[in-house]
């Protein structure tokens, strides 16, 4: 190895490799949830596996998550709670949630196999209590399993698929069960005998002249080491929300909103760049998840969002991430949540939220927000009239959340970007088959290269359609497939 200037964007030619320092059938880059599931399945298929993780421990960004898996089609928990969700409805929801560039093959497979996947997660040791928590939650504050975690009951999704709760949360009391479940999976990875290298940054791929991937260069203890992957390399390095150069190039809007990244710290896009370095195609790179959790408490869902034109712009009962997508597109990124005395609360996620205006009438609030004269008054008159009749002809907000806001004093909570920065992560990534095989621009698999999780573009690929649990669900399921496929590769 002569050149020290390794970059994920340039693979080292195989012919320049004098000797390998180590080898395995399958080398997995990244020990988050996708990498964990890939490692387990590859080992179960008999492959010798090395997992390289840049951090000192397992879990990646999944460890920061709420621990929800988006799964439907009639799970035991759904049935026990009285929901007769079907695979067809589950599929229909995912098709709409995927947006105009939905990956139908992925959706078909995931919706068909969701039930079995839920069992598999339990088989690995992830506990699910099996109980249903009614109401509107971003994550369960309890150790319950099943919650409404997307836009299922909201327009327009409710018209495409019969609503059912599909968020299946790993059992841990309180929010953020991601760490618990990634710990369970990491232990399983050790138990099945995968070899794990922590503090091991994969610098670049090693590929032959036909871009067939042969291994990786990984920095361990400050030294570049060459690891041969006899069957293949699986990239599970996460997205690129920590890489400002990539954001500028691919998702400038995600930078422009000045959001906080949701990341374990290593979503640096390096795996995506490694895929590109051997001809991997990318897709949906401009798409990102963004949110500001507007609830709990759920009374806030009864609030009304307006922009600086004094107009509503969304049904407020949609998934909080969908509301946020619409909010950041409003003029100057300025929006407010309007509440009356009966509904007033502060979001649990931002108890110090800015109260931008208060008033004894909506006209006073309108004036204090400097909205166009009469605009807010009209919006609230129309909303209150319709809500009293149980309808929302503009945006089809559903009856449970339609409550006239007529009890003074009135207040406007500022969701303007400068007051309440959103949180975000990227959704674009390498183009792959459901099996994880990374495709080049001709749609041909690149020999020896696989990807899953947010390094690949998976089921969650449209910010407007994202629901909680989609990334864990996709990453775990397609991580498994990539592990199986790589383990069975012959070359």
């Amino acid at each position: 190895m002569t050149s020290p200037a390794y970059t994920p964007s340039r693979a080292v030619p195989h012919k320049n490799v004098p000797r390998w320092d180590d080898e395995a059938d399958v080398v997995i880059v990244g020990f988050g949830i996708a990498g964990s599931c890939a490692a387990i399945e590859a080992r179960n298929a008999g492959a010798d596996v090395i997992v390289c993780e840049v951090a000192a421990g397992a879990g990646g960004s999944a460890a920061l998550s709420g621990g929800e898996f988006y799964i439907g089609g009639g799970t035991p928990v759904q049935k026990a709670a009285g929901f007769d969700d079907t695979i067809a409805d589950f599929r229909a929801y995912l098709m709409m949630a995927g947006g105009p560039g939905v990956d139908e093959a992925r959706v078909d497979l995931y919706s068909r196999e969701g039930l079995a996947h839920y069992q598999w997660l339990q088989d690995q040791g992830i506990p699910f209590k099996g109980t249903y928590l009614p109401g509107k939650w971003a994550e369960p504050p309890t150790d319950d399993t099943l919650i409404w975690c997307g836009s299922e009951a909201a327009w327009p999704f409710r018209d495409a698929a019969k609503p059912a709760p599909r968020g299946h949360t790993a059992q841990a009391v309180g929010r953020g069960s991601g760490k618990m479940l990634t710990d369970v999976l990491a232990k399983r990875v050790h138990d099945v005998g995968a070899r794990v290298r922590f503090n091991a940054r994969v610098l670049c791929l090693v590929a032959d002249e036909q871009d067939s991937v042969q291994g990786v260069v990984v920095r361990i203890d400050g030294e570049p080491k060459l690891i041969h992957a006899r069957k293949g390399v699986i990239i599970t390095t996460g997205g690129f929300i920590c890489n400002n150069d990539m954001l500028r190039q691919y998702a400038p809007q995600a930078l422009a909103i000045n959001a906080m990244p949701i990341t374990g710290g290593n979503d640096d896009g390096s795996g995506i760049l490694m895929g590109i370095s051997v001809g991997g195609a990318v897709t949906h790179m401009e798409q990102f998840f963004v949110t500001r959790t507007t609830f709990p408490p759920e009374s806030l869902v009864k609030g009304v969002f307006v922009n600086e034109q004094g107009q509503r712009f969304i049904n407020e009962d949609a998934y909080h991430g969908r509301v946020a997508q619409y909010a950041i597109r409003q003029t100057h990124g300025r929006t407010w949540m309007l509440l009356d005395n009966a509904t007033f609360a502060r979001p649990e996620s931002l108890p110090g939220i800015t109260i931008a205006a208060t008033g004894e009438t909506w006209a006073e609030v309108e004036a204090e927000l400097k909205l166009p004269s009469g605009s807010l008054q009209h919006t609230m008159d129309a909303y209150n009239r319709d809500a009293a009749a149980g309808i929302d002809p503009q945006f089809h907000k559903q009856p449970p959340w339609l409550q006239p806001l007529v009890e003074p004093p009135f207040a406007a909570l500022s969701f303007s970007l400068q007051d309440y920065p959103p949180v975000t992560f990227t959704l674009g990534g390498l183009v792959t088959l459901p099996t994880g095989e990374v495709l080049d621009a001709t749609g041909t698999p690149i020999a020896g290269l696989y990807a899953a999780g947010r390094a690949a573009c998976g089921i969650p690929r449209w910010g407007d359609g994202y629901s909680s649990g989609m990334s864990l669900g996709d990453s775990s399921f397609f991580g498994r497939l990539a592990g199986k496929r790589a383990a069975s590769a012959t070359r």
Copy 2:
């Protein structure tokens, strides 16, 4: 050459080339406006040039254009018409028009050199009458030069840069002077001695193991021929609006709106794929220009656009392409232009436009459109009240276009997607330096490879900021730079 399966997505290895069939210093792929300007400059710099064009004649998609160049900073035409446009204002407009991912280096150069470039275009023989046509036009119906061709006078652009008309139109009576000007440039390409191959489809690049581009494989008379490029290959093949596979991968929204492509027929993305095949990075691939020309006649600018919530959503005096971007994002893509008897007209571009509703009152129109009760009535009451006072507190439409719509009968022209499909082309492409050098994912130039025009991502890269003339201006100017740079390359 053993394999017949050439694809732009895979370069032929140089070592597989037994002999070259032809050679030149610079090989240019595509004979549209970018290719023409590149050829002229490369020849002027002393390079031997071959231009390969897949069509039977020159001009590409530029030949279908209105023949406008977006140029400012105080051109003789601007000055003669009494506009004191400055380079600073020209630059400020372009910076805003570039959106969150604006390419500042390109904008700096183009705004500084715009005046000289306008002279250069004339030096090539393109006639400009030098006269100003006041009013609101998509293209001059006359042979005049200068028109308002963007959002210069509209909010928010007018706050960022002092408004001035910047559309400089090549002289030809009537619309569509693109064909005339590309003919002039094509003649110039012949006159300076570039060799042109028509009906010549470039199938792929030839590159060595370091991805240094050495030439192209081109199909001429049904046979693949190998052309050596001693100094470099310049890709000027246009965008990818004709390539549904690429649209699905990179710009699914452009497919979803079911628009008509604006193209000479060969914007097949092949040049972008060729760039990717040797490691070229791409950017802004999801962005597209879209429009439905709402004017002339300019009285239509006095109309009001509403969505199916009965809300306005844009200042209607913005550039028609910006209005269209906002319109396609409204719920179900349904929007209407509201007019009264005093302003009523049909757009010249769609004289058979669907009149979705008429009425003696706005309430009647509201009912006929099945808008939420009272919504349109309120919107028009507020608009008319404010317009009478010469203000638009919601969207800052400017006074010349603020006229109360109070004279019955009233009408709603349907701009809903199903009634009035928009037209579109893509804005994303290869990442290049202003000199045309194509960059890889590390930001390093790829030896021997250049790109300009819509195969590169240039100044026009944000649908919301596009203005007429930006693509011709960018393609001609940066085409020239690519030609100069390639001609001066040493290797």
